[in-house]
Amino acid sequence: MSSFPPLLQVFLYGLLTALATGLGAVPFAFARTISPRTLAYTSALASGLMLGASFGLLSEGADLGRLATLVGANLGVLFVLAAGRLLGDHELQFGAIRGEDARKMALIVLVMTVHSVAEGVAIGTAFAGGTSLAVVITAAIAVHNIPEGLAISAVLRPRGVSLAACAGWSILSSLPQPLLAVPSYLFVESFQSLLPYGIGFAAGAMVFMVLVELLPDAFETGRRSVIALLVSIAMVAMVLFQQTL
């Protein structure tokens, strides 16, 4: 890929990481029947993965500017609050699915897409430091994206979305990565100062989505102790995964 001009390289690497997100749907190929309990436990899994990812984002943002990160986080909370209301006001259709389920599915795709914006900026600014580490950075981000696809699929699949569509929505949610990587590579200085806000926004949106949509769902049908175990173990696994890779 090094024969391509740098700008195209940044885009292509960003695209590769987006495609990796689709791999997150794969584990659901093996799930046959999906009961209300399964929905509770997949919500718990998605919650843990998203909380773990937010942890990584927050600590990254804190290094760049703790206050800016938290301002961003509060904006992220408001964003999910507003988006949840707006989506609830419209008669939504998500594939063949309508009503409350459709609202929830649209919201998770939206939140994860918005969170990819911050990641795209992170890729672009990282590449601006030189493309010598490009492969390493790309591989790391691509691997990070797989559990994010898993989180999306864990919400969509139990509500009747097909496997291919789960992979498709996962990839779609990561498309802002290549799209944003390019301008932030070009205008690295102005984007770098926005990065902590963006990172905070992504973390705040994900945490709030977990607290308002996913966890209440999970606790409604699943056993409390099992959900708590699933969420906390998935969270630790995600944090370890991100810190060591």
């Binding site: 942890f55 703790r66 986080a73 949509e213 708590a228 906390s232 944090v239």
Partner: protein, 243 residues
Amino acid sequence: MEPILVVLAFATLSAFMAPIGVLPLRTRQAVPSAWIGWANSLAAGFMLGTAYLLAEIALIGHPVRAAVGGLLGIGYAYLSHLASGVEDVDLNRLEDVDPLYGYRILFVGGLHGAMEGLAIGLAMLESLPFGILVALALAVHNIPEAAILGSVLRSAGLGVSRTAGLAVAANVGQVLFAVVAFAVVPAIPGLLPWALGFAAGGLSYLVLSELLPQAYERAGPVSIGLVTSVATGFVVLLGGLAG
């Protein structure tokens, strides 16, 4: 003041916040249900923020030890819930309470106290201002806990002042654990990242298994989500200032 006395003082102060939760009993028999939900989510946010700050320190240089410590903390909290039979019991009930329920409340209070004490002691090791922040953040959790315990004891016919005294006594474990953690952990080389991870994992599990599900039963998810996330962010911000 000697650092260990600072630990003792603030862990004790945190335990003495408990009687605030008993105060409403002087005028009314019970607090409104939604208030208990919000108090729980405030405590959940403060605990999550504390867990975040502890994990942040633990992960520097030792991600694997911190993560394994976290899993041990989760496992410990899960098993002790399981062993005491409280894992799926609503511990915020104010009506139809019996002595067994009262013992369970006390037991869970003790379990929380141990985790919170550990967190305070470890945070004090990082820096005293950070430790004081954690002690104050976790003190908030003792208030709704005492409100629940208080209404159980009141329904058993106990006076308000004795109820307040017992609410403090239920948190003595916290003081003990804070002081012991502060004194013992640095004496054992390499233990710190494990211990930090353990406390962070244990606190997260307690939030997820008790505080949040109980909060959702008493107030809407939006208000619970807002209180929890803002409280978490507040502690994370102050943690940055306290170093």
